[in-house]
């Protein structure tokens, strides 16, 4: 049986497209993916989701979105997509335990936190190096830690970590932050946070010991190299889009983000993309949800087989 629509990903983009396609009676199948719920699952209080004046916990927001999509008939399954065949019609989406076919595909696979790529980083992951403050902050009660990065995520992590850490050093390669004004102000006002500007990370230690005991940094202006004793290092330097499934098939920019046009359309008719997988600029829960809605409406229009301009012409003729 070929499905009307399969949605890959279950963050705000995927779940909003599930809600809209479910309400359009298209009975969508949502394949959650490994990081089910997406990046909101790694957050705490989300203060910029409209309609929640006191904020809403990221994981709670996702739970609500899931339930809302399911209420209208979306089917959400656990598991990961291993390959996608976009050359055949219907499209074929293969999971480890079987394949599904679909007329339209909505890609909402999101983006994953990037690492620095230092040789010492991976062996120390889970032993002091982390990309998730809400997951791992707990292990650093009363300990000094470092946060790498200068964006909103980095400031959010630094602020969150002050609940646990004795001190938080923010290491940033520029002399100004990319983070929004409100986050900058909060970070500057926090007595537990200090900054190392124009600074790059040379190495994390100590791989031999199997745990983090310091970070060697270099000031790019002065050339000064020093080691700061820290027990935790939180890397918040941006994200990489999860597009490896589609390489060579779908148009991507130089950084691997899917390119969409006229709304959520990709270069293959019937394949739509929404959320962070196609957006390296806004990257908000609300923009992801908004683009998920667009993808759902685009998929619905595609399934109706009525190109939008013909619909408009008919409207004009009627009036």
């Amino acid at each position: 049986m070929s499905r009307n629509v399969i949605i890959i990903g279950s963050g705000p983009a995927g779940l909003t497209s599930a809600l809209y396609t479910a309400r359009a009676n298209l009975k969508p199948l949502v394949i959650e993916g490994l990081d089910a719920g997406g990046q909101l699952m790694l957050t705490t209080l989300v203060e910029n989701w409209p309609g929640h004046k006191d904020g809403v916990m990221g994981p709670d927001l996702i739970t609500e979105m899931r339930a809302q999509a399911e209420r209208f008939g979306a089917e959400i399954v656990r598991g990961n997509v291993v390959s996608v065949d976009l050359q055949s019609r219907p499209f074929r989406v293969t999971m480890s335990d079987g394949a599904h076919e679909c007329e339209t595909l909505i890609i909402a696979t999101g983006a994953t936190a990037r690492l620095l790529g230092l040789p010492s980083e991976r062996p120390l992951l889970g032993h002091g190096v982390s990309t998730c403050a809400t997951c791992d902050g707990y292990f650093f009660r009363g300990k000094p830690i470092a946060v790498i990065g200068g964006g909103d995520t980095a400031m959010e992590e630094a602020l969150y970590l002050t609940r646990f850490a004795s001190h938080v050093t923010v290491i940033h390669r520029r002399d100004t932050l990319r983070a929004s004004k409100v986050m900058q102000d909060k970070a500057f006002a926090n007595p537990k946070i200090t900054f190392e500007w124009n600074t790059e990370v040379e190495e994390m230690t100590d791989v031999a010991k199997g745990e983090v005991d310091g970070i060697r940094i270099r000031n790019s202006k002065t050339g000064e190299v020093k080691t700061i004793p820290v027990e935790g290092i939180f890397v918040a330097i941006g994200h990489t889009p999860n597009t490896s499934l589609f390489s060579g098939r779908l148009e991507m920019d130089a950084n691997g983000y899917l390119i969409t046009h006229s709304g959520s359309k990709t270069n293959i008719p019937g394949v739509f993309a929404c959320g962070d997988v196609q957006d390296h600029i806004y990257r908000q829960a609300i923009t992801a949800a908004g683009s998920g809605c667009m993808a759902a409406i685009d998929a619905e229009k595609y399934l109706e087989g009525v190109p939008q301009h013909i619909g408009e012409v008919q409207e004009e003729m009627r009036s």
Binding site: L34, D35, A36, G37, M41, L42, P59, R78, G79, N80, S96, L125, G126, H127, G128, V129, S130, C132, T134, C135, D136, Y138, F139, F140, G210, E211, V212, E231, G232
Partner: protein
Amino acid sequence: MASDKVTILTDGTFEQTINAGTPVLVDFWAEWCGPCRRLAPTVEELANDYNGKVVVAKMNVDENPSTPMRFSIRGIPTLLLFKGGQLVEQVVGLADKDSLKKMLDKHVA
């Protein structure tokens, strides 16, 4: 039910369990950890699939601080596999069932 096949480990029962002969997979987790909750159903399925071949266990890091400290665990979820009391594999962060099965199969005769 899959969940009743998962052994609940504490700092007190950890040592005797990993030395008991059967390989032991330990899932270090906490209530407040979103990814841990995501991994939990997979761990339960593994407990079912490897019933009798691997002891699949969970340890709450909030309630049991000393074992995570002993293995320098600073991030969860972390899965550790012990064979004959020795640490043979570790997986940090979320993992899919297939890769975990591959890892277990290497150590199960």
